[in-house]
Amino acid sequence: MMKDKTMADADMQTDVLVVGGGNAALCAAIAARRQGADVLVLEGAPKFYRGGNTRHTRNMRCAHDTATETLTGPYREEEFFDDLMRVTEGNTDVDLARHMIAESKPMLTWIQEQGVRFQPSLGGTLSLGRTNSFFLGGGRAMLNALYATAENLGVQFRYDAPVTDMTIEDGRFERATATLDGKAVTVKARSLVAAAGGFEANIDWLKEGWGEAADNFLIRGTPYNRGAVLRMLLDKGVQSIGDPTQCHAVAIDARAPKFDGGIITRLDCVVFGIVVNKHAQRFYDEGEDFWPKRYAIWGRLVAAQPDQIAYIVFDAKSLNLFMPSLYPPVQADTIEDLARKLDLPVGAFAKTVSDFNAAVRPGTFDHTVFDDCRTEGLEPEKTHWARRIEDAPFYAYPVRPGITFTYLGTRVDKAARMQMADGKGAANMFAAGEIMAGNVLGKGYAAGIGMTIGSVFGKIAGEGAARHARN
């Protein structure tokens, strides 16, 4: 067992130190413990907020060769790989990605053996029902199951325990300093698993990539992912990977809280209307593809607009065609009134709407297929699901970029071993989850892939860390 040698944890020692408390950290901790290692998990957040962004997740994407009780059909490795190449536009470490996808197959069973329960795809998620496994009760239910399993195995946990410093010599982790009950405590460990998330909640760091625009970003998940551990590792010689501006970003309700608004602030109505910026101008084809496939591009699109704000505008006939969300839409009886309520230039807004309406070609509306409702003669065109905005009342949702997680991270190899800036593999340092997601996700996003990265590399990292600790 872990040696709490002296008074009040003042000097702790363990085989495997896991920094972080989400899916990746728990998979690592469980895997390491099952290999016989003593494991200490330091979670920087208080108990309620434990688990980083895993709290907000709801599914994971794993390859499988046949339908299961909860998956409607096969999703083979090749198809998964093609999807990944498509969303990242090739910005991925191909070897690592293939390895992850291969390991995602047994993960589907392993994660259930750790107590996680799946359910059939949620009503209406037909597009994901074949590829993604949904957690019964959502991400926090998944976390609770993993924590219970880890506790039963004897993994030690400390909450409110941020790591503030690390000693790394020649690519070898020696010890960490953490704050426990307000006191600085040093923790020695034979190996380290860093699974402490990205830096999305650190606005100053986001500004390094995005400039002042980052002030207008909303952070969809935990306020605790400030990248302290990532920064520490990079400063101490771990090689970085990824572009600091790349992240999973979607357009969410501009009225959402700055942090932790989660799933309920997302809006699924882009395809049903038009999207204008603060000058009341359209800027992208709202009907390019089905919403689930394209929702992950709209965060960046809105981030590129002045003041990082946009408005999704639609009319009465579309109101009930999409999932409800937390805040009611802004409503007005005329287009001009709607412009005034949104503080948009009235004349320009009315012209944008009337130009759009005039450009809509006749067609048969069907939002379940690529229909023939499109515009002609606009820049940009709306290529599907284009219907005139003419039935009062008129509605709008203000949207801003909602950052889910960042991709800049620590470079790892297939063993989840961190790579040092000099190109050598670290002796005893492993990484999993958001902190190394950029190895797989150079850009873009596919639903549920963050959890795949966390689980697969978490388990690999935990097993590697335990193996190292034993030798």
Binding site: G124, S127, D260, I263, L326, A447
Partner: protein, 387 residues
């Protein structure tokens, strides 16, 4: 707008939950919610009574307190549920019994027991109070006993039927023809096994985030104990009037075969439920209901225990006081049935019936509607997106 603050809060929460839906696999409440986009008071009363208070959605929720969205579905629905018991109670003049319900039940029980003691003494030579021949009917003639209890039972039935009717109308159950045989049978199965008191499969939650709760077991002991005791009384009555067989009955008679395990269930079950209640997570408790719930458990416990003790000690000098205690408690239990926690079973069962009907019809009920209306399933109610 909503009639009460509790309903307004429930409406807010259902809007939050309907935007998330992560909990839809846990129980019946969330799938029923997903059939709707807006929540009238009748909808909320339906959902509140459909909730079994398993606590899973609280532990699974990323927005539960201390999160600023403050999503606490089990507690909010418990508050709405308690308000609904009062609102549906008939006659309306007795609705105030739900205020300080524990105190009322205790007072009515005490008066009832005292009345039986006084009655025994007033109508008989006081010496029968101390006789040891074990004959109930020297204390209270069977016809008087049957008449008294029959009358109070019929009154309770009438009052509860009226309450149920009010609930049925409020939730619009008839609008999806919820009274059909298929829906009833489904609801009997769901209620009989407490299908939705299992946290979505692992068990329910009470004091913490571990699904270690035993309320389902203790509720089964209580419910089936109650039903067995009821069966014991009913078979005893049939023995008496149909066959002319008078109590006491042997240990292998139906009244005893039903009554003994039933009484044991009524003793163990309520103790377990009360223990669980005292352990319950502070956020899930509604202190305003503690009196009502505890009083009901105490009444069931007292019914079971006094019945068992009466059986064992009937041939002692304690017969008369024990009989007065048992009859007094049972009388008070019947009398207060429509005005206490007992009604949760009726409304939950009716909610399960409606849930079964909605699943079959694939459309939500229209609150307040008395007749079948064709309200098409909202095109978006089942729509969702990638997250």
């Amino acid at each position: 707008m909503h009639a009460t603050d509790h309903l307004a809060e429930a409406s807010r929460l259902m809007t939050v939950c309907n935007s998330c839906r992560y909990c839809e696999g846990l129980c019946a409440v969330f799938p029923a919610m997903e059939l709707r986009r807006n929540f009238a008071d009748g909808d909320l009363n339906y959902l509140a009574n459909l909730c079994h208070s398993c606590g899973a959605c609280y532990q699974d929720c990323q927005f539960s307190p201390p999160h600023e969205f403050n999503v606490n579905v089990p507690r909010t629905l418990a508050e709405v549920r308690a308000d609904s018991y009062q609102a549906y109670a008939w006659p309306a003049a007795l609705q105030p019994l739900f205020n300080r319900n524990g105190l009322w039940i205790a007072a009515i029980s005490a008066v009832s027991v005292a009345a039986f003691i006084l009655g025994f003494a007033a109508w008989h030579d006081p010496e029968v109070l101390w006789s040891t021949d074990g004959n109930f009917y020297r204390l209270m003639p069977h016809n008087v006993m049957a008449g008294l209890f029959g009358a109070v039972f019929l009154f309770a039935l009438l009052a509860m039927a009226m309450g149920l009717r009010a609930f049925w109308r409020d939730i619009g159950a008839s609008s999806v023809a919820a009274g059909s045989g298929g829906s009833l049978w489904q609801a009997i199965k769901d209620a009989g096994q407490l299908r939705y008191l299992d946290g979505g499969g692992v068990g329910c939650y009470n004091e913490d985030e571990y699904p270690t709760d035993r309320r389902r077991l203790f509720h089964h002991l209580t419910f089936y104990g109650f039903m067995l005791c009821f069966a014991a009384t009913s078979t005893g009555t049939i023995y008496h009037y149909v066959f002319g067989w008078e109590a006491p009955y042997g240990y292998l008679s139906l009244p005893k075969l039903f009554g003994i395990p039933g009484g044991i269930g009524l003793v163990i079950g309520p103790i377990g439920l009360l223990h669980a209640k005292l352990q319950r997570h502070a956020d899930l408790r509604d202190p305003n209901q503690f009196g009502m719930e505890t009083a009901f458990l105490a009444m069931l416990f007292a019914t079971g225990l006094s019945g068992l003790v009466l059986m064992v000690a009937r041939e002692t000098a304690a017969l008369a006081p024990l009989l007065a205690l048992h009859l007094g408690v049972v009388f008070a239990l019947f009398l207060t049935m429509p005005y206490g926690k007992f009604v949760h079973g009726l409304y939950r069962f009716a909610a399960l019936v409606l849930y079964a009907a909605e699943r079959k019809a694939e459309q939500p009920a229209t609150p307040g509607a008395a007749i079948v209306t064709a309200k098409p399933l909202d095109a978006a109610a089942g729509v969702r997106s990638a997250g």
